[in-house]
């Protein structure tokens, strides 16, 4: 099953899991399974059915927005990653 790497700011909503195995053949299916497993994540990732535009999902090292978005195919050994917006510096 593909893996999704969860960044620190979102781990409070995944029982502090940093990796979650998900089912699904596309990025959209994988994210749907993720929020199905952890419903509190939904509001942080989606606005209705649309992925919020500050949420960046990478497949390997590629930004899925520049692949086929939520329709991008995902293989069972793929690594997905949600890249967080963080602003700390001081």
């Amino acid at each position: 099953m593909p893996n999704i790497k969860i960044p620190t700011p979102l781990r409070p909503y995944t029982d502090n899991q940093s990796q979650v195995s998900v089912a699904g053949g596309t990025v959209g299916d994988a994210l749907a399974d993720l929020v199905n497993q952890y419903p509190d994540l939904r509001a942080h990732l989606f606005n209705g059915d649309e992925l919020r535009n500050f949420v960046n999902v990478f497949l390997g090292d590629e930004d899925t927005r520049f692949l086929d978005g939520l329709n991008t195919d995902v293989e069972s050994d793929d690594q997905l990653r949600i890249v967080p917006t963080i602003a700390g510096g001081s």
């Binding site: 509190d40 602003a87 700390g88």
Partner: protein, 413 residues
């Protein structure tokens, strides 16, 4: 990539000796070191990221370094802001940093700007410098730094940190994507905690700040592969470094238009949050009812008078261990749990009685507490959304204010 600096400044014999470990490397050499002396770099922020940046760039011999910061050093900075020390507490950070930098290397010009960076002053401040380095701590300033760099055609060496995670990139719209290509809009206020709220490993800004300093030198000299079009993710707990490819968004609202057409906007309005604690920014969301506030002194006198007020401490459990209010009637439930319970209730997944909300009474006055008053105010809004109609008040300034004004023997963190 071509070097950003093509002018050179002559080195004295003293400087040739000082920089000998650079001079004997062909990638730098005497010509490169002369370029570094002729170069200018502006550091936005002299805190966690700014500390290692300022130390190493000063030691490396960058001829002119500007520092933008309005803050003074306090004790909570010293866990990570290694350019400052105990003797600098209460001193302006730019002055403390300048002193240390000139001690490391007296052959430098250090420009200090004791101002918050704003849309009104950014272009003028950035103009004289070859490279801008973003070491700020908030979203409005990060968007401002990006947009001003795109407008002026300057590279923005970006670093950002949270807890055990860091990010590094070089946003240079002439050659690749900008910050907005990756993050077109900011997350809603309150979604991403700041380091003051979420904490940060003290060493983390050292790691990311020194990586930023490395990128600065590479850009100035035109050596190696700069992080343009790439982002490094660092996870200190896993000790993993991951590099992602970043693409230029042809529809980017900032770098997708001619650079002189870029207009700086009100970034506090854009992000819905203040950029710094000197800000006059107030949320303009007219529909938002202000949360009722109570001062710590008023709360103390009402508690002393025997009034029935429940304290709800919404900080995280590890913070309760540091210090708690000495009030018997205290309930401890983290903000995240209240938010999750509210979401589950509104989504129809859990009844009120099946979640932490069952512990929170809806028939008596509750004063909500956190470290500084931000998370407790947010928690009041969650409880309102969950249907609470009883009086909920926010303890202004949180437990820090209590330690400051009511019980100075309590530790502050």
């Amino acid at each position: 990539m071509l070097p950003l600096v093509n002018t050179v400044a002559e080195l004295t014999n003293e400087e040739i000796k000082r920089y000998s470990r650079h001079l004997i490397m062909p990638e730098v050499g005497i010509d490169g070191q002369r370029k570094l002396k002729a170069a200018s770099v502006l550091l936005i922020g002299t805190g966690g990221l700014g500390s290692p940046l300022a130390l190493y760039l000063a030691a490396a011999g960058i001829g002119r370094i500007g520092l933008v910061d309005y803050d003074v050093v306090d004790e909570t900075n010293l866990q990570r802001q290694v350019i400052h020390g105990e003797s600098s507490v209460g001193v302006l950070k730019i002055e403390s940093a300048k002193r240390r930098m000139l001690d490391i290397n007296p052959h430098l010009q250090i420009d200090t700007y004791n101002v918050p960076l704003t849309s009104a002053n950014a272009l003028e401040l950035f103009a004289p410098y070859d490279v801008i380095v973003d070491g700020t701590d908030n979203f409005p300033t990060r968007y401002l730094v990006n947009d001003a760099c795109v407008k002026l055609g300057k590279p923005n060496v970006y670093g950002s940190i949270f807890r055990f995670e860091g990010q590094l990139s070089v946003f240079y719209a002439k050659e690749g994507p900008c910050y907005r290509c990756l993050f077109p809009t900011p997350p809603p206020p309150g979604l991403v905690p700041s380091c003051a709220e979420g904490g940060v490993l003290g060493i983390l800004p050292g790691t990311i700040g020194t990586l930023q300093a490395t990128e600065v030198i590479k850009l100035l000299l035109g050596i190696g592969e700069p992080m343009i079009g790439r982002m490094l993710l660092y996870d200190a707990l896993e000790m993993s470094f991951t590099t992602l490819k970043l693409r230029k968004d042809p529809n980017c609202p900032v770098c997708g238009v001619p650079h002189d057409a870029v207009e700086l906007i009100d970034y506090e309005q854009f992000c819905g949050m203040p950029a710094h604690d000197h800000s006059n920014y107030q949320s303009s969301n007219g529909a938002e009812i202000p949360v009722p506030e109570i001062s710590v002194t008023k709360l103390k006198s009402r508690l002393d008078a025997g009034e029935d007020i429940l304290i709800l401490d919404v900080r995280d459990p590890h913070e309760w261990e540091i210090v708690s209010l000495p009030v018997a009637n205290t309930l401890q439930i983290p903000k995240g749990d209240i938010q999750a319970a509210k979401n589950a209730l509104l989504a129809g997944r859990k009844l009120r009685d099946e979640s932490v909300l069952a512990q929170i009474p809806d028939d008596r006055e509750i004063a909500l507490l956190c470290r500084s008053g931000v998370r407790s105010a947010a928690s009041i809004r969650f409880l309102w959304e969950a249907g609470y109609k009883n009086r909920l008040v926010n303890i202004t300034g949180g437990i820090l204010a209590w330690a400051e004004e009511v019980d100075p023997s309590m530790p502050q963190y």
